[in-house]
Amino acid sequence: MNIVQSPSAHASVIPSWVGVVAHLHITPRAFLPMQAREEVELIAGEGIVGDRYRIGTEAGFYSDKPEDGRQVTLFESEQLENVRRDHGIELLPEEHRRNVTTRGVALTHLVGQRFRIGPCLLEATRLSIPCRHIEEILDKKVFDPLINRSGLNCRILEGGMVRVGDAIRPA
């Protein structure tokens, strides 16, 4: 997270941050590989066009457990590096199965908060949790390594197009 301080010497220090969209991925149905996209369309109150967890056309592994706050999911690219460092497992951006791979954003700090990703406004509803399902798909023992570092679930308050390279910043 890049900390930016107020330029005024007299103003109180107000920490802020800005991150970036590193990767975007979607898949239309459970189990199928995530595919990279340069841009995706977020629909407010629904999800991502073409993704398995868009409300109304849900076809994900957990779609039998409806969740309003799972319209888009995010994952820190830094955690991919941490999993490699701590466990020697190479987990790729298309393998963590979240939609947005971020850089420079402490996602765990955002639960309950609103933030912008490109032109869209998201509200973080809860931390994601890993599931054994991902080990079945990847044939990699990543369940334990992903505990407490498995990303963020969000609701889409304002939709729009999100592109790789877009800024992520507080609302």
Partner: protein, 312 residues
């Protein structure tokens, strides 16, 4: 259906005696999950359940899976439905493929197939060829070849050798395999009698250098402390025997119990149930000591006593 892979039959053709070759694709042509050579897939046969078939296509081809199904006279309905009940354009549900018959890290691979047992080796062949490996596939068959179109390039290249046991005496597996040489790995897939002969022929081989394909799900990793027990539903009195290391949640569902499953790793809390009597073994990571006095996580929990009575 969300917890299945939905596939469309893109192509269905005969491929040898009583054999139907099916090409399965995602309805939109999306890539399918990656597979390993030697993997099999469970196909959901309506009214019957899951039936396992080896995936025989090149694992590098991501947008299709190929299976070949022999019509079995003693079929419980699976192969008959896949022959007669499924047409091009139809959809079928599948589970995530698993590989219980992987390629070994070996310098030389000797493979013995009996009839339709050739299918896993057809997935291994292109991988071995790309790796410039040393390998040979012996196909024992009676009359017409199984999957002749898929075998043809390997027979032409000399990598596969067909042995028609209707035209000539069945070759000795010991002769095909020879004595074990360092770095050699042997594989067999086919009728039980052939597998028995293979086991006998490789009995003196070093451990782990000869493998057989059975369509049996892989066993759970052994837990030295796990033991079998009887699970009892307090509300109905229904009971089910849970094998050592078996899933309490699955057992509970089998007797009509109500349990939610999500992470299946003991951290999400979805499958928390109340226990009433017995000695549960807790393997979750979230329940406090106080909670464990009354509840257990059914996805990972076990039991140290003969019976466990639960309210679910």
């Amino acid at each position: 259906m969300a917890r299945h892979i939905t596939l469309v039959v893109a192509e269905a053709r005969a491929a040898g005696p009583d054999i139907r070759r099916l090409v399965l694709r995602d309805p939109d042509g999306w890539p399918l999950p990656k597979i390993k050579p030697g993997a099999h897939v469970d196909l959901d046969v309506p009214g019957i359940g899951l039936r396992a078939y080896s995936l025989m296509g090149d694992p590098a081809v991501a947008d299709r899976w190929v299976v070949a199904v022999k019509r079995e006279a003693a079929s419980r309905g699976g192969s008959a439905w896949l022959h007669d009940g499924l047409a091009e354009g139809d959809t079928i549900a599948a589970a995530m493929p698993r590989c219980t018959f992987p390629l070994a890290d070996a310098a030389r691979h000797v493979m013995i197939a009996g009839g339709i047992g050739v299918t896993p080796f057809l997935a291994m062949a292109p991988v071995l060829a790309r790796n410039d490996a040393d390998w040979v596939l012996h196909v024992l068959h009676r009359g017409p070849l199984p999957c002749p179109g898929d075998l043809a390039p390997w027979i032409e290249s000399g990598r596969a050798v067909a042995h028609d046991t209707r035209a000539a005496p069945r070759p000795s597996l010991a002769a095909l395999l020879g004595a074990h040489a360092p770095g050699t790995h042997a594989y067999a897939c086919g009728p039980q009698a052939m597998l028995d002969a293979f086991t006998e022929a490789t009995a003196a081989w070093p451990d782990g250098t000869a493998t057989i394909e059975h369509f049996i799900p892989p066993a759970l990793p052994p837990d030295p402390t796990a033991r079998p027990y009887t699970l009892v539903r307090a509300s109905t009195g229904a009971t089910v025997e849970v094998q050592a290391g078996g899933s309490m949640a699955a057992a509970l569902l089998s007797i009509g119990g109500s349990v939610e499953l999500s992470c299946e790793g003991g951290i999400c809390g979805a499958c928390k149930i109340r226990w009433i009597e017995g000695e549960p073994v807790h393997r979750d990571r979230i329940l406090s000591a106080a909670e464990r006095a009354t509840h257990v996580m059914a996805c990972v929990g076990g039991c140290a006593s003969d019976r466990l009575v639960v309210d679910a």
